[in-house]
C-alpha cells in the first residue's frame, strides 16, 4: 500500500494546470488526442509555448545523454528531396549510371580538374540540383593530376569510374581499386579499367564503407588473385570520398 496521499487521485478529473500540461506534452505522456490539442495550443499560445520550453530546458541534460548513432547515408538525399532541392529520383528508367546527365557532369568536372592533362571539350554544366547529381571524387596522382573520376552510390552499391586516358601505365599489371576506411586497412573493391568508364558493383557488406571521409585508392597489382586481401603494388592514384 502506498502513502495515503498517493491513493487520493483527483488529478485524473481536475485539470492539471498549464505547467503540468506543458510537462506532459514535452515528455510525451499524453494520449494522441490530448497530445494533438496540446501541441496545437503550443503553436498558437506563446505563454503556453514558453512553459513547454521551460520543461524542455529542465530535461535538456538528458537529451544529449542519448547515444549518438549515425543515420544511413541515404537519409540526407531524402531530406534534400523533401525540401524540393532536387527532383524526385527517376526509378524504373535507364540506370543512373548510364544517364547522359551524369556523363555530362563527369565530363564537366574532368574538364575543370584535368584541364592541363587532357583536352576535353567542356560540356554545358547542368544545374547542380538534379536527381543525378552526386559528388565526384577525383583519384589523383601524387602530383595532383586526375587519373580517375569516381562517383559513389553507397545505397545502390555502385561505384562509377571514369579513367582519364593516358595517365596510368599499368603494363602487365592490373589497376585495383581499394576503399580505405578512416583509420582502417584497405579493402579491395576489384579491378578497374584505365581506359574505359564502367561501374563497379560493391558487395552489400562493404557498402557502409563507402562513406564520406574514406579514401579510394588504385594500386597496380598482379592480374592473378583479384580481389587481393591486401595491396602489394604502388598506389597510382587516390582521393577522399566527398561529402554526402
Amino acid at each position: 500500500m502506498n502513502s495515503p496521499t498517493d491513493d487520493i487521485d483527483t488529478s485524473d478529473r481536475s485539470p492539471p494546470g498549464d505547467d503540468l500540461l506543458a510537462a506532459e506534452l514535452m515528455l510525451g505522456l499524453l494520449e494522441p488526442d490530448e497530445r494533438r490539442r496540446a501541441a496545437a495550443r503550443a503553436e498558437t499560445d506563446p505563454a503556453f509555448a514558453r512553459l513547454v520550453d521551460g520543461w524542455d530546458q529542465r530535461f535538456a541534460p538528458w537529451l544529449v545523454r542519448v547515444e549518438p548513432v549515425a543515420p544511413s547515408a541515404a537519409l540526407w538525399p531524402r531530406i534534400r528531396r523533401d525540401l524540393g532541392w532536387e527532383a524526385p529520383p527517376q526509378r524504373a528508367r535507364a540506370p543512373l549510371w548510364g544517364s547522359l546527365l551524369l556523363w555530362r557532369c563527369a565530363t564537366a568536372v574532368a574538364a575543370g580538374v584535368a584541364l592541363a592533362v587532357v583536352l576535353l571539350r567542356p560540356a554545358v554544366v547542368p544545374p547542380t540540383e538534379t536527381a543525378a547529381a552526386r559528388p565526384v571524387t577525383t583519384l589523383a596522382h601524387d602530383d595532383g593530376r586526375a587519373a580517375w573520376l569516381v562517383t559513389v552510390d553507397a545505397t545502390q552499391g555502385k561505384v562509377f569510374v571514369v579513367p582519364v586516358p593516358g595517365t596510368v601505365s599499368p603494363g602487365e599489371r592490373i589497376c585495383e581499386l581499394w576503399i580505405i576506411p578512416s583509420g582502417g586497412a584497405p579493402i579491395s573493391l576489384g579491378a578497374v579499367s584505365d581506359r574505359k568508364a564502367h561501374t563497379v558493383d560493391i558487395a552489400e557488406a562493404l557498402r557502409a564503407r563507402l562513406a564520406a571521409g574514406a579514401v579510394l585508392a588504385v594500386t597496380l597489382e598482379d592480374r592473378q588473385g583479384v580481389p587481393h586481401a591486401a595491396p602489394a603494388g604502388p598506389i597510382v592514384a587516390k582521393g577522399e570520398i566527398l561529402d554526402i
Binding site: D6, G28, R35, V64, V66, E67, A70, L83, A208, R209
Partner: protein
C-alpha cells in the same frame, strides 16, 4: 552487414547555434553542415523513442525538414540550439510512435536503468555538466519507481496508459505519481 556507424563525439554547443542562424537565412551549406554535426545525436534520440531504424529515419527526415523551415524561430534566449534541435527530433519521434500502425515496442522499465547508468557520461560543456548534475540530483530525491517512470516517459515518450500497463498500477495512480514527481522536480530545480 558491416556496422560502421561509430558514435560521434558530443556536439559542441556553439557550432550548431552559428549554423542555425545561417540556416535561418536560407544557407543550404550551413544546413548540410548542421546535419553533419547533429544528425547522429538526433538519430539517437529518435531511436530511443522508436526502437526501429526505418521508423527513426522517417522521424529524423521529418525533423530536419521542420528544422529547415523553422530555423528562424530559434531563439537562443529560450533554448540552446542542441536542445531546440533535439526536442524537435524527439517530438517528431513521439508523434510517429503515436501514429496509427506504429510498430514501436515497449521496452522493459529495466532498460531505462541503462539511461540512468549513463549519468556519468561527459556533458558537452561545464555549464551542461552542472545542469545535468542538478537534474540528476533532483531526480534522485524521487522514489526509485517514480524515477523510472519519469525516465521512461522522457527517453521513450511513453504515455500514461503505457506506463500504467507496464508497471501494473491503475492509470489514475500513475498519473498522480508522475504529476506529483514533476512538481517536486520543478520545485527542486528552482531552488
Amino acid at each position: 552487414m558491416t556496422q560502421t556507424n561509430a558514435p560521434q563525439p558530443v556536439v559542441d554547443a556553439r557550432g550548431p547555434e552559428l549554423l542555425l542562424s545561417r540556416v535561418a537565412a536560407g544557407d543550404r551549406d550551413a544546413f548540410q553542415a548542421l546535419y553533419r554535426e547533429t544528425s547522429a545525436l538526433l538519430f539517437g534520440i529518435c531511436l530511443s523513442v522508436l526502437r526501429d531504424r526505418a521508423e527513426a529515419e522517417d522521424a529524423l527526415q521529418e525533423a530536419y525538414v521542420a528544422i529547415w523551415h523553422k530555423a528562424a524561430q530559434f531563439d537562443r534566449s529560450r533554448a540552446t540550439a542542441i536542445t531546440w534541435l533535439g526536442s524537435i527530433a524527439r517530438h517528431r519521434a513521439i508523434d510517429r510512435r503515436r501514429g496509427a500502425g506504429s510498430s514501436a515496442t515497449w521496452v522493459a522499465l529495466d532498460v531505462i536503468e541503462q539511461h540512468a547508468a549513463d549519468e556519468g557520461r561527459a556533458a558537452p560543456s561545464p555549464d551542461d555538466a552542472q545542469s545535468a548534475a542538478r537534474l540528476d540530483g533532483c531526480m534522485s530525491q524521487l522514489e526509485p519507481q517514480r524515477q523510472r517512470l519519469i525516465r521512461a516517459a522522457f527517453v521513450e515518450g511513453a504515455t500514461y496508459s503505457e506506463l500504467a500497463a507496464r508497471c501494473g498500477s491503475p492509470l489514475g495512480t500513475v498519473k498522480s505519481w508522475i504529476r506529483r514527481s514533476l512538481l517536486q522536480l520543478r520545485a527542486c530545480l528552482e531552488q
